[in-house]
């Protein structure tokens, strides 16, 4: 609360308090959503000045738990203690006042605001929103090595910088307890290391950090203690020294962690997709994808690795014809450059979009209409410009069964399904039309391990039938496990080609930051 910087003596106090009550204690937290128990009797204690990791599969209830701690959700049962005192936050404001800060899984930044505005928002009382605030931000940034300029417009920042802004936001509020919800998903390994350096510095200052992830190697590298959550319940708390990644994984999923084992190659030399000189220009006319060329053959999975925001989204959209682009594009011998998205899809492109809500599903429309989506010109959905609702309904039932989509029926709105089931529906739909080329962007993002394995299997199977796949993923294990070839994209250019059989995530990471530039 005080405007002065923490003095040395206050830091000493923090250290002295290490053996006092835990900085945060959650006792028997229960939280229900309609139809789902997100948290079930969860208990957790975090010691001051440590990094405490919380791991669990997708949907295990990690984010919900943290939102409860941060006052964004109210628990249905249980209690929260901060520094040994019971609290009941009704809003983030109260949590912030109690010295808790949260960096969310998805960036919570207004693009059209300056960095300074994003940071001071909601904390205007501290130092106003003007010059004093800017000075304070610069001080904080310098002190924790978070290189950021408050006058910069946020939309011009890359993901790493955005992450730093998020952390600064929390520090600016004088938080002593930081919650980081999956802060590393969008970072390359080098940036992750940088972040971990920052985090250690913060704990050195006496701050407490709760770190959420399901990437076990990261957790083992940085955490002082690890709590495992499964299906909404705490399983155990361990120290990194006492477990291996495999053991941790077993705890997390309750069984062995499936990994996308490298399959034998089924690549033919019959090209499906040939792209050359593909250039996409951003709003300012600057190329965001520059002179990209590659060929995908029947039965081949081409993986694209890259830090988010390096042009892979635009590349995918250009291939689908959603973004105007220069260059040539040939699908199974047919030139599609300049053709509409519809023409491309009719020519045999399937598409699993990165953002299923923005590009994949009509959330308010029933499942059977979603089954038509993207294929509304072909059987069984339509013929001669007229829809065939009956046939589409029947086929939807088939997909639900074949792809294990869990739903009470085909008339429910797609938005009512869980993320994983939504994704399965999309995969089923796209594979049902037997595409020549599947463009899959983050096909298992936000999907639990079971569904993830199923999706991998389905993609592999379709590839076995001669489908070519362009795979864009941030999950390096997925890339390495599925791809026949991996190309690395950096600042819109393909800068490296690697063989998944011989590469490691670390090596890929280096390439993704541009450290290994080589002519492609």
């Amino acid at each position: 609360m005080s405007k002065s910087k923490p003095t040395d003596s206050s830091r000493d106090e923090d250290r002295a308090a290490e053996h006092g009550p835990p900085a945060v204690e959650l006792r028997g937290i229960t939280k229900r959503f309609p139809g789902v128990v997100a948290n079930r009797d969860v208990s957790l204690a975090v010691r001051r000045g440590t990094i405490h990791a919380v791991v669990g599969e997708n949907g295990a209830g990690k984010s919900t738990l943290m939102k409860i701690l941060y006052g964004m959700q109210r628990p249905d049962g249980g209690s929260v203690l901060v520094d040994g005192t019971p609290v009941a936050f009704g809003s983030p404001q109260q949590a912030i006042a109690a010295g808790i800060g949260m960096v969310h899984q998805h960036f919570m930044l207004a693009d059209n605001f300056t960095v300074g505005e994003n940071i001071t928002l909601g904390a205007e009382r501290r130092h106003g929103i003007g010059a004093r605030a800017a000075t304070r931000i610069r001080e904080l940034a310098a002190r924790y090595g978070l290189d950021i300029e408050p006058d910069e417009l946020t939309e011009n920042l890359g993901v790493g910088d955005r992450q730093r802004v998020e952390i600064l936001k929390v520090l600016y509020r004088g938080a002593r307890i930081l919650i980081l919800d999956e802060p590393t998903t969008v970072l390359v390994p080098q940036e992750v290391d940088e972040l971990f350096g920052n985090l250690r510095e913060l704990t050195g200052e006496g701050l407490t950090i709760i770190f959420i992830s399901h990437k076990l190697d990261e957790v083992l590298a940085v955490a002082d203690e690890i709590t495992v959550i499964r299906q909404g319940t705490t399983i155990t708390t361990v120290t990194p020294a006492a477990v291996t990644a495999r053991q941790l994984a077993t705890l997390m999923v309750g069984s062995e962690l499936p990994s996308p084992a490298a399959p034998e190659s089924l690549v033919t030399d019959e090209p499906v997709l040939a792209v050359a000189g593909l250039t996409v220009r951003g709003p300012a006319g600057r190329p965001v994808v520059a002179d990209v060329g590659f060929t995908i053959h029947r039965g081949e999975v081409l993986g694209i690795a890259g830090v988010e925001g390096n042009g892979q989204a635009e590349l995918v959209e250009a291939i689908l014809g959603l973004h105007p682009a220069e260059g040539t594009l040939t699908l199974a011998g047919r030139s599609l450059a300049g053709q509409s998205t519809r023409a491309r899809r009719e020519a045999g492109m399937g598409y699993i979009p990165a953002d299923r809500h923005r590009h994949g599903l009509l959330l308010d429309a029933p499942l059977w209409e979603n089954r038509m989506l993207g294929h509304q010109t072909e059987r069984p959905n339509a013929a001669r410009g007229l829809l065939l609702p009956g046939a589409a309904r029947t086929d939807t039932q088939r997909i639900l069964a074949a792809y294990d989509v869990r739903t009470p029926g085909i008339e429910v709105a797609a938005g009512a399904l869980s993320g994983g089931n939504q994704q399965k529906l999309i995969v089923g739909r796209e594979l049902s039309s037997a595409p020549k080329l599947l463009v899959a962007a983050h096909p298992t993002r936000g999907v639990d391990v079971g569904a993830q394995a199923a999706i991998w299997g389905q993609i592999r199977q379709a590839r076995g039938n001669g489908m070519g796949v362009l795979l864009v993923s941030a999950d390096l294990d997925e890339l390495i496990g599925l791809s026949d070839t991996i190309k690395v994209i950096h600042r819109g250019r393909l800068v490296a080609t690697t063989d998944p059989a011989s590469t490691t995530p670390e090596h890929l990471g280096l390439a993704m930051t541009g450290a290994l530039e080589e002519p492609s």
Partner: protein, 373 residues
């Protein structure tokens, strides 16, 4: 199980209940406002009903509903893909003027009446479509919000109409009259009014048949054709539709064109069945169309009911004057009905969505493994 899956009974129920509740609410406001003034609302309402039940009134209600319905469909066409064609007013005024001017022009005097009617209908649709297309093109190529552009185009269309409908141009003024209109159509291109309702000489506009056809066509186009699917998909989510292969810009232009073409019909029932010439006295149907499209949730049958309700209120309000009750009360009722209905629909939507989630969730929880996000 399968039936329950096909028809979302709960959802349909709430959606049907919503307008009823909203109407009751609006009637409550009606009663309250009248109460302030010291009038008995049920009394006023029964007078309105009695009057509306007269054969003359029934015919008039059907006739009004005809052009209200056409306007509503024109608006709804845009609504279904998230476009707000606020320009129906300008579109139909310009279209009706052009059609009327052409129909009464001497150079096509040789045409048989039926052909002239067909020609006029086509011209009206083309003019309406062309005027709406301006907004569509501006939106598609220049990113100009159609809400603003259609409002501006209404003013421009009004100006053009005022300019053209003068005795210096296409207008005429009967001897001794102060009203300017286009010349009367030749008698052979007047449409006879249908004697559907007994007890009165007045007949229902023959053009109401066209309104019915438009309604059926609207349903078919939207629900049974690929184009309709593309359109609705764009309405649900433009980004999703684009990814599914819908060319959003072309959709915008086409939707505006079709919406404008339907809007072009709005003035014709009266032109063919009542006034037989273009007069600028009737305006504002476009705005009423918006209200009715909202009342009917852009569904063909819903809008028909909405149009009838609106026409009923309009017509029956005439009797209020005779009973010394301020007629403005009906406008208040119309406004609050619209607001109440849209709120009720929204609440119903939320309710049924929540119930669906719960059903999905229940299914997931009872299954062996909890289904994570």
């Amino acid at each position: 199980m399968r039936l329950a899956g096909r028809i979302d009974l709960v959802g349909a129920g709430t959606r049907l209940l919503a307008p009823v509740v909203a109407l009751l609410f609006a009637f409550g406001i009606f009663a309250a406002v009248l109460g302030v003034e010291g009038t008995n609302a049920t009394d006023a309402f029964s007078q309105m009903f009695e009057y509306a039940a007269l054969p003359d009134s029934q015919v008039d209600i059907l006739n009004r509903a005809t052009f209200y319905y056409l306007a509503a469909v024109a608006v709804a066409f845009g609504f279904r893909m998230g476009l707000f064609n606020i320009g129906v007013d300008g579109q139909y005024r310009l279209a009706t003027l052009m059609a009327a001017a052409l129909g009464s022009a001497s150079f096509i005097g040789w045409l048989p009446g039926v052909l002239r009617i067909i020609l006029m209908v086509i011209v009206a649709m083309v003019v309406g479509a062309a005027w709406a297309a301006i907004a569509g093109l501006l939106r598609a190529t220049r990113g100009v919000s159609e809400v603003i552009s259609t409002i501006m185009l209404n003013a421009v269309a009004g100006g053009l109409v005022a300019f053209l409908n003068t005795t210096d141009h296409w207008g005429t003024r009967p001897e001794g009259s102060n009203a300017v209109s286009t010349p009367l159509l030749p008698k052979d291109s007047w449409l006879p009014n249908l004697p559907l309702i007994g007890g009165t000489e007045a007949g229902v506009f023959a053009f109401s048949v066209v309104a019915v056809i438009v309604g059926v066509g609207y349903w078919f186009l939207l629900e049974r054709t690929r184009f309709g699917f593309d359109l609705r998909a764009t309405g649900y989510s433009p980004t999703v539709a684009a990814a599914s292969g819908v060319d959003a810009k072309r959709m915008v232009v086409w939707t505006m064109v079709i919406s404008g073409a339907i809007a072009g019909l709005v003035g014709l029932p009266q032109l063919f069945g009542e006034s037989h010439a273009f007069t600028d006295s009737v305006g504002g149907i476009g705005f009423t169309g918006i209200a009715i499209a909202l009342l009917g949730r852009s569904r063909p049958v819903g809008m028909a009911l909405g149009a009838l309700l609106w026409a009923f209120l309009d017509r029956s309000s005439l009797i209020l004057d005779l009973a010394d009750i301020p007629r403005e009360i009906v406008v208040i009722m119309q406004g609050s009905t619209v607001l109440a209905v849209v709120v009720a629909y929204e609440l119903a939507k939320r309710l049924s969505r929540r119930m669906q989630r719960r059903r999905v969730g229940g299914l997931v929880e009872t299954s062996q493994k909890e289904q994570p996000a």
